[in-house]
Symmetry: C2
Subunit: 364 residues, 2 copies
Amino acid sequence: MTVTGIIAEFNPFHNGHKYLLEQASGLKIIAMSGNFVQRGEPAIVDKWTRAQMALEAGADLVLELPFLVSVQAADFFAKGAVDILERLGIDYLMFGTEEVLDYESISKVYGEKAEQMEAYLAGLPDSLSYPQKTQAMWQEFAGLNFSGSTPNHILGLAYAKAVAGRDIKLCSIQRQGAGYHSLSANQEFASATALRQNLDQPDFLKKFTPAHHLLETAPKVIWSDLFSYLRYQIVTCPDLTNFYQVNQELAVRIRVALKSSETIEELVEQVATKRYTKARVRRLLTYILVGARQEELPSGVHILGFSEQGRQHLSQLKGKVELVSRIGKDPWDSLTQQADKVYQLGNPALREQNFGRVPIMKGK
Amino acid sequence: MTVTGIIAEFNPFHNGHKYLLEQASGLKIIAMSGNFVQRGEPAIVDKWTRAQMALEAGADLVLELPFLVSVQAADFFAKGAVDILERLGIDYLMFGTEEVLDYESISKVYGEKAEQMEAYLAGLPDSLSYPQKTQAMWQEFAGLNFSGSTPNHILGLAYAKAVAGRDIKLCSIQRQGAGYHSLSANQEFASATALRQNLDQPDFLKKFTPAHHLLETAPKVIWSDLFSYLRYQIVTCPDLTNFYQVNQELAVRIRVALKSSETIEELVEQVATKRYTKARVRRLLTYILVGARQEELPSGVHILGFSEQGRQHLSQLKGKVELVSRIGKDPWDSLTQQADKVYQLGNPALREQNFGRVPIMKGK
């Protein structure tokens, strides 16, 4: 049977995600962010709830991305997720995008010229942000011209890089309806951003996500629930450069900006520069929040849930891939688990996120 | 003019403190704990409010003890406070006690036999707590026999040690009415503990503290306002032994106990042993909370408030003692100021505690 991999956040799951799952054939494996997501914020509902949403909409297997894969710029995010999906034996990597291009050819270009392309990128002036450098690189080597307002396309290019040289085919699907950040929702599709902003509108949720019941009842976490901990961490930590990717310049900027910031957005706004984008700053603040330090990625793959088909696939992998289906005394990934404890502080209604939890079995 | 020093917490100020101030003659200088107190907890109201209470009841000068003096076992607390008061030129050190003894003679005993006494104490088995060792020492060398239930007497003995060999006379005053921890309050005097437990009873406050109006209106902070930060700190800090006086054994005990503790008292209860008393554990948890590391004590003396007489005394000290009356860009004591920022997180109604604050001038 064909095995299709999808890299996702489902923050929260919506009709567009359901549409994407419906386009996939064969066994559908999701590599999903845990309790913190790529743009540097807590997921609106926890990983177990989001895994449940995916299973109910047709996913066969949901795996958790480690924190240091989830909360990363596009390239690292894509590479880390593809590394995991490759071990799980996917044939296709499917993704939604604003621009349906021939990503396969783009991947080949990168496969052939990776060294030159990375050297070109490294030679660009540091006044450019990393996304800007990436855009310049693709323009130079593949004639691609795009703006920063198509995040799924940007991720698509990151996937094209990540699968280069691997036995994985790319399968892009035109995104339906609203754009990633779009707040409008006239049709069948609303963005995850729009859903997060309409959590108090049951009719809206019912219209735009099949998981409206789970979404309504699950405990929510947003940055403002955690901002006081970030403030506390910055106040009590003598050296912020101990944290992942925080350099001296940023440490100083963050300390100064905190004095006049009452919210995460005010803080991000003040710390960000042309070079350090807001998304990057938000990720850095997330690293500080959870106390992230440079760490090895975990060797095991953490399973959040599966269907009967997914279970059969897993049983074929036994002995070949280190699968973690129950976290006990030995941690799966200590940083992810630490981040989850911080996430839990955001809402006392949340259950323990790791210790003793077992995968969700669809239909059980 | 005679100068009398008093070491105090005023947590909160009550009629017993007023009585003590009335017994003092001449200029009355208070060395007062800042926003965290000796038993390892946040002061119920902030240091400025408590300084104001003291000034209104007759104090002439209120100085702030640095965090690492305030939050210490009796001996270090007494020594640190006496060091400061000595620089301020006190003739007498006055204190309330449950047992009025000849502390002067006791001080002389210590002055003559300090080395033997400390050697004796150091030779006692580590199964005894530090307070137990101290009791054994005083029994051996001065024939004193007392229980652990007279904390002011224990502090009195610590003062007797601290003034040994200095040109400071001790002046003990029989405590009036209720004991330190007593919750009963039938007479004119109620303990600070009783006041803290009756903050919602205006009539009670009116009866037992002259500062009832300030006490009612000032923002309050209790441990439960800060416990989630302590939990966060323990969760995100990779090595608790970085903090002041936390050893490996305690670090492990604290991490294990946190899992089944919902309150500070539950945590203290589980971590404490025969050797590590509850007060000591509560102080250690306070060190962790504020991120305290071993640091030099500050060279300057921070002034919280003064009367006209106090101001005149200060002007005589200029050039001889480093007085800090306004904290700006250069910190007075970075640890105390860090602790104050944490304290402020306990109640958003609190004003900035240091930057730009100037001493309270009585009657202005």
